[in-house]
Each structure stands twice: as C-alpha cells, then as structure tokens.
C-alpha cells in the first residue's frame, strides 16, 4: 500500500468514525481492526525498544515478556559509548548528499522539464538508463577508479557520485516542474526574469513538497547506506551508523540488548525527520505523479 493509499484509508476510517450513533457497531469493529493493525505494524519497533531495556538473558526468554524485570537504562549508555563518531559521520554524509543532490537534481529537473535543447529526450532517456545498471556490475572498476583517485578510505565515494548523478531526484523534480502552470513562467519572463531567475524565484518555491520528498528519500538512502561505507571505507573512525550497528553482530553470538539500544538510537533522526516532513513527503510524491 502506498503512502497516499494509506492516507486515503485513514481519511475514510475517520469519516466512518464521525458518523451518527446508529453506526456504533461498525465503528467499534473498525476501531478494533485499526488497533489490531496498529499493534501488528508497531510490534517490531516495540520489541526493539523492549529488548533494548532488558538484560541479555531476558531478550529471548520463553514465554516472552514485554517489560523487563528491571529496566537496564545502562544499555543505552553502553551502546551509545563510542557511537558518536559514527553518528557524526552519518550526519555529515546525509547533509552533503541532501544539500548537493537537491541543488543538482533541481537544476537538471528544471532543464529537462522546461528548457528546449537538442537531444533533450535522448539525454533524459540516457540518464534514466544509467539507473538500470546494477551497481554490483561496476563495483570493481569503480573501486579501482576511486583507488587511483586516492578516494578509498575517504568519504568522497559516499556522496560525490550520488550528487553528480541524481537520477531519481531529477526524474521526480522534472515531473514536479512539469506540473507547475506554464503561465507562471511566462509572467516571470514578461517581468524580465532570466532563466535562472525564473527557476530560482518562481519555479523552485512551487515544488517545495517535491524537494522535501527528494530530500527525505536522499536522507534515508544516505542514512541507511551500508554497502558504500562497507566497500569504500577501511578506517573505523570514518564509518557510519549502519556499519556501527552491523559491528554489534558477532560471528558466533550477539549482545542483542545492546544492538537493539543502538538501533533505537539510530532510528531517531529519520523518525524525527519523517514526523516533521510527512506532509511534504506525501504531497511531493503526489504532485510528481508517482502516487499509486
């Protein structure tokens, strides 16, 4: 189910809940069903938080318990100890990815949506086709290239290629720019605005929701990227949060409670971002014509 479909389902449910008293049995059934699904969807999150507060030998005890016998708040300080450098690295890469990708993708998206130049459609098709090549195919040549450039064990491979080839962002913003009435642009031209001035002052503010959606998706992609840091970084001091989490998993056994505490800390920034930007996120997906 897409985010849009979910929103519509919730809106429909609220409509039913607000109906007159003769619909009470239906409302009760609906509430029970919604509560059931809410619990089902929230269960992994709740289990993670519960496990993060338990002693290790209670995490998998049978029958399972939801609340720990004694809250182990120390798990958080133990898991969090040493996580700060990973967290800062993730924040830095997310900021670089989001900032530069929005800049380049919006410029490219506007160009493909509104400007006329030779082979525009061919160039756009070529751009899209680059996204169809699985990354694993060019991993070794890419590694060799970065090695020759002295980029291995640096953060460059984790954001420069992303922001210089923002295929999905370009596509989504192109769709968003195409949805803006042409009259706005024409009015700006009549007022003497340059192409860049039209883009910057008139068009960009019209696609804020799409920018927010691309920004949120880029942030999530960067924040959750395990493969890039795994391949291109060697030094622990440069590693990111997904690697830190993966390092909690031992070869033969794992401190599950500490790993869950670290995982809980890890999801806080994306959770916060989603809560703050969910309106734009849904709007952005909708206005770019990608809704399901």
């Amino acid at each position: 189910m897409t985010t849009e479909a979910t929103t519509e389902a919730i809106t429909g449910a609220v409509r039913v809940l607000n109906r007159p008293p003769r619909h009470i049995p239906r409302r009760v059934v609906l509430i029970v069903v919604l509560l059931f699904f809410a619990v089902v969807f929230a269960m992994p999150l709740l289990w993670m938080i519960s496990a993060s507060l338990k002693p290790e030998n209670e995490v998998l005890q049978s029958p399972p318990t939801f609340l720990p016998s004694e809250f182990q708040w120390g798990n958080y300080s133990q898991a969090g100890h040493g996580l700060l450098p990973f967290f800062l690295n993730s924040c830095k890469l997310a900021a670089l990815n989001v900032g530069f990708l929005l800049l380049f993708a919006s410029l490219a998206g506007y160009g493909f949506a509104r400007l006329n130049f030779a082979f525009k459609n061919l160039a756009f098709a070529l751009l899209l086709s680059t996204a169809m090549i699985p990354g694993i195919v060019y991993l070794v040549p890419q590694y060799m290239l970065f090695r020759q450039m002295g980029w291995i064990d640096t953060h460059y491979p984790l954001w420069v290629p992303n922001v210089l080839t923002p295929v999905f962002g370009t596509f989504l913003l192109r769709q968003a720019f195409r949805g803006v009435p042409i009259e706005l642009e024409e009015a700006a031209k009549l007022d003497g605005a340059s192409i860049f001035g039209t883009f910057w002052r008139i068009m960009l503010p019209q696609v804020k929701p799409a920018l927010a959606a691309v920004g949120a998706l880029t942030f999530m992609g960067s924040w959750n990227d395990l493969f890039g840091p795994l391949i291109f970084l060697n030094s622990t001091r440069l590693q990111t949060m997904p690697i830190a989490l993966a390092l909690f998993k031992g070869e033969y056994f794992t401190q599950t409670n500490l790993m869950m505490a670290a995982a809980t800390l890890t999801i806080l920034p994306p959770l916060l971002l989603f809560l703050l930007a969910q309106k734009y996120f849904v709007q952005g997906i909708t206005m770019s014509g990608l809704k399901g």
């Binding site: 030998n57 998998l60 049978s62 090695r147 002295g150 064990d153 860049f196 493969f227 391949i231």
Partner: protein, 440 residues
C-alpha cells in the same frame, strides 16, 4: 543572503566557485582522507582485514600487541561479518590487497584455487615450524591438493554437546560420560535421554540440532561416512547411505520421536541472534549440539546449570571443527610482515589472550593447559582438547558455495517430512557432483 537579492550573476559566481572547488576537492577537505587510500589499507605500514575484531576484543588486543613488539603500525580493518566476502573479493580483484587477511575456513580452498592466497610453505620451512606442536585438525586444514599451505589457523572451535544439567537432574536422567573415549552414549542412548527430558506442549525439548554444516558433518562421519563430501571432494557423500541415514535420524528426532522442535521453528530461529544458545540457557532445551564458541555466551547469560559432553556415537565418536583462519594475499605488498603477524597469532603469547574467553582453543597443543575450569560452567573444559583430538574438518571443495545452493533447499523437504533423506538428497546427487567436478 535573502532569495530576493540573488541575481543570476551572483548565483552563477557562487556555483562557479562551488563547482571549481568541487573539482579541486576543496570542500572535501573535511572528508576524512587519511591519504592512504591507494594502499588498500588505512594509514599504517601493515593492514589486516578481518571481522568481529573491534577495540577491546582479545583478537584486537593480540593484533596490537604484535604491532608493538614488531615495531609496526597495524591498521585493523574490521568489516561486519555478513558482508566480509563482498569486501574481500572487491579489494583482491582491485589489486588493493591488505597485508594480511582473515578468511572464512569454508572458502580457503576456493580462494587458493583462484590464485588469491600465498603458499606459506617457504615460511614454515624457514622458521622450522613443527607440525607436531599443533592440533592436527588445525595444522592439516590448510594443506591443498598441490601440497601448498594456503592459510594459517590460529584458533579452533570444535563441536560439543551442551547439556542443561538441571534438566537431567530433574528428569532423573544420567548425564553423558565426561570422557570422550568412554564406550556407550550412542545415538540410541541420546534418543532415550531426549525422550525422558522432553516435557509436553513444547515446555522443554530434549534436543536441539541446528541444520547447518556441523550437523551435515558430525552425524554422517559418526555413522562411518566421509561427511558432506568425500575426502577428495569429488563425491557428494551426504547422499550416500551413511549420510542419508544420519540426516534421516536427525530429522526423525522431530518427526518421529517428537523430542526436538520442528525444523521450521529452528530455521526461523536462525534469523534471531543467539536463538539456539538462548534455548539452552533459558531451559527450553536440554541438549544442544553446538560449537565451543557458544561457551562465552552461556557463561554470561545462562539461567540454568550446564556443562559440555561428548557427541553421541554410532560407528565412532567424532565431531566437527571450524577454525579462525588467517592468510596472506598473493598480492600482499609485505608478505614477510604478514607472516610475522600470522606466526605471532598462533604463538604462545597470543594463545594466553585468545584462550581467555574459553570459547576458542588456540591451535598449539600447549594451549590445553590454558583451558582450566574456574567457578563458572563448564566444569568439563578438558573435553575441548579431547574433542579436538576426535574432530574432523569438512572436506572442502572450491565449489562449496555453489554446491550448498543446490542441496540445502532439498534438505528442507527432509526436515518437514515431505521426503525421505534418501529421496531428497538422491535427487540432487548427480547435480552436486557435477558442480564439484567444475561442470556446474
């Protein structure tokens, strides 16, 4: 600058500066380059790619101790285990090999066959390494068909039977013998004990055997077979009578005797860290076949009393052994330094550190003296040395990964009772053997 004040020229100027700086790498200065990317290692004059080796672990401390006494700077590149081989293959293919590497024991033969590992024989000869000083199951492991010594194990990890001794006392069942060589404790004895230890409605299971290569090796070999593959790795012996009989015996623990959780539950448990160990540690299971690497977890977390015992026997009492293995990439820029590190890691000084967890016995026979029981379980630590004396390695093939993708899925039909082991494994025998012959 407010948006209203942005002119085309100012923006282009800013972009020009940004683009130029981007090209020149100026804004990237804070990107953490240590200037050593081209070496494939971090910043030191030796690099070691490994997994599960974070600061504070005995392996990490051991490596740092080597660096100190060798006067080297060692860059320890600890990669998360699940993705280790992807990274290793990438760096080896890219000509950026670290000085030394840790390697999955299952894949040594494959990496050597494709020319990625250095033959260590000249170093063994030069330093007068005596095979008799090491457990044979460890020393002989890295020998290749062409006589090369492709890797260097530093720790062993044999299979043992973990028993919840509280459950045995409660059920009035006699514990298995503590001595590996003692007669008795057969497969039949195991089933009888498991029946008595099982409580109804899944309250407690008599036994738990994880469906993995330990199972596929221990029981066929115990039944007089070769294990998964023949010794020359040309035949799929798991599909031969001794193998199928052993696999069927394990499946029947759940399907017929009802003393074992159903294998769908066990397979699902694989997704949860520590699941099998937690089943024993929380008293849900009375007997667990597992590697000694589980000892540190149980010492810390078990809520029941437990100890380790020999595996049950049929034709002979045997077990499987896995290893912590180091190797030198053929493309290592400093193989002498790499060998110095490997030799140290298998030496007496390192052994003291590595034996602390009680989970892994270092490869030198003299390490047995380090496995002394203390006030925590297991009290039968001497069994680890005995297990090593009776352990076998899986008979490796360079095509082991491909072979597993063929026979593991059909084993699911055996665990679920849809097919007999003979029918299921027989159906893929030829296909697996084609793969072993390099035709797959």
């Amino acid at each position: 600058m407010p948006a209203s004040e942005i002119s085309r020229r100012s923006v282009l100027r800013a972009l020009g500066i940004g683009g130029g700086a981007l090209a020149a790498g100026l804004p990237l200065a804070a990107c953490g380059s240590n200037g050593s990317g081209g070496s494939g290692g971090g910043g030191g004059n030796a690099s070691w790619m490994t997994w599960d080796t974070e600061s504070g672990t005995p392996m990490y401390t051991m490596a740092q101790n080597w660096a100190k006494q060798a006067g080297k700077t060692l860059d320890i590149q600890s990669i998360p285990g699940d993705d280790y081989d992807t990274k290793l293959r990438t760096v080896l293919s890219s000509g950026a090999a670290p000085t030394a590497i840790r390697i999955n024991d299952d894949y040594v033969r494959g990496y050597y066959a494709e020319g990625s590992l250095l033959d260590l024989r000249p170093y063994l000869e030069k330093d007068g390494i005596k095979p008799d000083d090491y457990f044979p199951v460890a020393y002989n492991f890295a020998k290749q068909p062409d006589g090369a010594h492709a890797a260097w194990p530093i720790m062993t990890n044999p299979g043992v039977l973990y028993c919840n001794t509280d459950a045995f006392a409660e059920a009035g069942v006699e514990l298995p013998p503590k001595d590996w060589a003692k007669s008795g404790w057969t497969w039949d004895d195991f089933v009888e004990a498991a029946k008595k230890l099982t409580k109804p409605n899944g309250e407690r299971w008599g036994a738990l055997i994880f469906p993995d290569s330990s199972l596929e090796t221990v029981f066929p070999v115990s039944n007089g077979g070769d294990g998964i593959y023949s010794k020359d790795a040309t035949r799929f012996t798991l599909a031969e009578p001794q193998g199928t009989e052993a696999v069927q015996w394990v499946a029947d623990l759940a399907l017929v005797h009802k003393v074992h959780p159903d294998f769908a539950t066990v397979t699902a448990g694989r997704q949860t860290p520590n699941w099998a160990l937690a089943q024993l540690g929380t008293g849900k299971v009375a007997m667990l076949l597992g590697l000694t690497s589980g000892i540190p977890y149980l010492r810390k977390n078990a809520k029941v009393k437990w100890d380790i015992f020999p595996t049950p026997m049929k034709v002979r009492r045997t077990t499987v052994n896995t290893l912590t293995v180091l190797a030198v990439p053929k493309a290592s820029k400093d193989p002498d330094t790499a060998w110095s590190f490997l030799k140290y890691a298998a030496g007496a000084e390192a052994a003291k550190l590595l034996a602390q967890s009680r989970g892994f016995m270092p490869v030198a026979k003299s390490s047995s003296a380090l496995f002394v029981p203390d006030d925590k379980s297991p009290s039968n630590l001497a069994l680890v040395t005995q297990a090593l004396g009776n352990a076998v390695n899986e008979n490796f093939s360079r095509y082991i990964e491909r072979a597993r993708t063929i026979y593991r899925p059909v084993l699911d039909d055996v665990w679920s009772g849809k097919k007999t082991a003979e029918a299921a494994l027989g159906s893929v025998k030829q296909k697996v053997e084609d793969v072993l012959a390099g035709k797959g």
